[in-house]
């Protein structure tokens, strides 16, 4: 299952002939993502890495039946690219581009909301459901298919933590970078809610940073709505106030947006926050043992296995059949 992107994700790359667009089209194709088309006005009719290029999104979506777009165009055209994708009828837009004017994003946000279109980003690494689909720029090889959902406001810090999870044998269901800007399309709560519903996700890692109050709101959501265990990490404990730390949204203004407040809010709802990235896998493993009982699928499987063994079937066959029983239950 995973969330937001899977085997059925059909992608159009906006800005496919640009340097980043072309490179990542190739990377996504290599990973197995269904990149069905690209758009660069004036380059219609050509191909990039074997992918057909169109002049407009409307044309691209009409012909390819794509449901997703990923945006690599320069910032001065990115707002327009989002609107064009929305008008063309895709249901998911992933905006990698950094540097979009915030006041424009206010309009974009409310417009997309009214059309029920999901935007991930801007200023984000994208989204990957390991083994299924990758829509973005993250290095694929550090990911591993599994049951941990990862949601983060950062790019490379997410890679760092995913790398540590994978090294510890903890695979991921979906990893989403929601972006480092003050106004983003999808926030922590949207992702936490989706992970809670996703049968492939058993626990969630949430990577926040200074600025805004998204983490505090996520804490409130976890308290009210989540049963699956969540582990946190917050970057910027040592950041000075009033300074923009790279990301447009990573700024402590006045007394709001402090790392300590976010950590306090998460701890208060029972979410442990790692002091350093390397503690994340341990905390997750610990939480999963504690909180997650044997999932229904496994229970069904073990019941079926016991029955068959009783009937005298060989162990190997029993396991095979039992696995099927488990899958059905899901």
């Amino acid at each position: 299952m995973a969330i937001f992107v899977d085997k059925n994700t059909k992608v159009i790359v906006q800005g496919i002939t640009g340097r980043d667009g072309a490179f990542h089209t190739q990377q996504m194709l290599t990973y197995g993502t269904k990149v069905v088309g690209g758009v660069t006005p004036g380059k219609g009719g050509t191909q990039t890495h074997g992918v057909p290029v169109f002049d407009t999104m409307t044309e691209a979506v009409k012909i390819t039946k794509a449901n997703t777009s990923v945006i690599y165009v320069p910032p001065q055209f990115a707002i327009d690219a989002i609107y064009e994708a929305a008008e063309a009828g895709v249901k998911l837009i992933v905006c990698i581009t950094e540097g979009l004017p915030a006041n424009d994003m206010l309009k974009v946000y409310h417009y997309l909301k009214s059309k029920d279109i999901r935007l991930i980003g801007p200023n984000c690494p994208g989204i990957i459901s390991p083994g299924l689909s990758k829509v973005g720029i993250m290095p694929a090889q550090i990911h591993k298919k599994g049951n941990i959902g990862v949601v983060s406001r950062s790019g490379t810090l997410t890679y760092e933590i995913v790398y540590q999870l994978t090294n510890a044998g903890l695979g991921q269901s979906t990893c989403i970078g929601i972006g480092g800007d003050p106004v983003i399309g999808t926030n922590f709560i949207d992702c936490l809610g989706a992970f809670e519903k996703d049968p492939d996700t058993r626990a969630v890692v949430m990577i926040g940073e200074i600025g805004g109050s998204d983490e505090e709101m996520a804490a409130e959501f976890i308290r009210k709505k989540m049963k699956k265990p969540v582990v946190g990490f917050i970057a910027g404990r040592s950041a000075p106030p009033g300074k923009r730390m790279g990301h447009a949204g990573a700024i402590i203004s006045g007394s709001s947006g402090l790392a300590s407040d976010k950590i306090k809010a998460l701890n208060a709802v029972g979410v442990p926050v790692a002091d350093i990235p390397s503690q994340v896998p341990g905390l997750i493993a610990d939480r999963m043992k504690k909180k997650v009982s044997v999932p229904r699928a496994k229970k069904a499987a073990s019941r079926a296995k016991a029955k068959l063994v009783k009937k005298g079937a060989s162990k190997k066959v029993a396991i095979k059949i039992a696995k099927k029983a488990g899958k059905k239950k899901r």
């Binding site: 980043d20 004017p101 915030a102 290095p139 950041a239 300074k243 790279g246």
Partner: protein, 376 residues
């Protein structure tokens, strides 16, 4: 980007928000001459990018040109919260009957421009919000509709009872919203909005913060940048397309990605060290960027060691390694360098570094510990 009060007032004037007559000068005699021309008492106000100027003695009332001269002499060169005053605004002193607050900020939660008004003006709005929140009225503007006059009028009625003032105020709020949207501001504030004894409203102070992401379409506003008021290293970094923030410590950090850069600083601190800076070399990092980054870091005499933490994604580790080698050749840094490389083209990068006798680890924790050892 922050701009000065006098610059914000110039923008107000363009949108016909009433402001007191004023001029800016950088010499005491200039202040005297302005006061002579105005033939009225004036205010001499420090122009620095920081709040609390009044409390720090950076704003003075002067009843004649001589006083204006001496006030300007005192204020120019004054240090307010670490910033040196290089310019003063000399403006008409206004007879104050009432002081209110009108401000617009971008609200990250509701994704709207939020207008805040309060009859308690002239003081820090955060203070009002903490002590007497009932004195503040907030309204989130529908970004697609824009602000309508009846909405502005409701806000104005929260401040004033007298309808001649309500009408003036509603128009000022509407104009301020236009400033906010058309200039791509992330903050636009009038504090205080003053009611004068003759029954008119005037913006006694003006504050505008501009969205850096939108400056590409505001050449006129970009020109308002005060290079004197910005940290020179931060400006150099900006030109090289790096984001840099200076800190007090001695471990120079060079990282790709803002989140990882913050986490690296935090880790340095966690193990008992002090980071000298935040530095994000960004995504597709060319060797030139690495050289520029090293130049900035090594220009800080407090730096005892340079720490590279690179997680290759779009950033290719070999690009960074080449940059490090070139930078060492060119700059001959006086301090040791420790390197962590993981991800895209990691092996190639290691070979490049080994060629000049340098080693790289693949663990973030290890490299931070190494840096601390070298700095000890």
């Amino acid at each position: 980007m922050k701009i000065h009060e006098y610059q914000a007032k110039e923008i107000f004037a363009k949108f016909s928000i009433p402001i007191p007559k004023g001029e800016v000068t950088s010499v005491p005699d200039g202040a005297r001459q302005i006061a002579v021309r105005y033939q009225r008492p004036v205010m001499v106000k420090a122009q620095v990018h920081v709040g609390g100027r009044g409390k720090a003695g950076g704003i003075k009332y002067c009843k004649d040109p001589d006083e204006a001269f001496f006030a300007a002499q005192d204020i120019l060169g004054m240090n307010i919260k670490g910033l040196t005053v290089k310019k003063v605004l000399v403006s008409d002193a206004v007879d104050i009957a009432s002081e209110a607050y009108v401000g617009i900020v971008l609200d990250r939660v509701t994704k709207k421009a939020v207008i805040m008004v309060s009859p308690a003006g002239g003081i820090d709005i955060e203070e009002v919000a903490a002590k007497t929140p009932e004195q503040i009225m907030k309204f989130g503007v529908d970004p697609i509709m824009g602000l309508r006059l009846f909405e502005a009028t409701k806000l104005a009625m929260f401040i004033y009872k007298d309808f001649t003032l309500v009408r003036q105020c509603a128009i000022i709020i509407s104009k301020l919203y236009r400033v906010f949207m058309q200039c791509d501001a992330s903050l636009a504030e009038i504090n205080p909005l003053v009611g004068t004894k003759d029954g008119s409203l005037i913006a006694l102070d003006a504050k505008i913060v501009l969205d850096d992401n939108a400056l590409f379409r505001h050449y006129d506003l970009e020109a308002l940048r005060d290079f004197d008021a910005e940290d020179p290293d931060e400006m150099t970094a900006k030109k090289a397309d790096l984001s840099f923030v200076k800190l007090d410590g001695y471990i120079g950090c060079c990282v790709n990605g803002a989140g990882l850069a913050m986490a690296t600083m935090d880790l340095v601190k966690h193990f008992g060290g002090e980071p000298a800076n935040f530095l994000d070399i960004g995504g597709s990092s060319s060797p030139e960027k690495v050289i520029a980054a090293m130049k900035i870091i090594t220009s800080d005499p407090k730096v005892k060691v340079i720490l590279f933490n690179i997680f290759g994604g779009i950033t290719r580790c070999d690009d960074v390694a080449n940059g490090i080698v070139k930078a060492v050749e060119q700059l001959k840094p006086r301090v040791p360098i420790v390197v962590r490389l993981t991800g895209t083209n990691e092996e190639k990068a290691r070979e490049i570094l080994q060629g000049v006798g340098m080693q790289a680890t693949s663990s973030m924790e290890e490299v931070v510990k190494m840096a601390l050892e070298k700095a000890a």
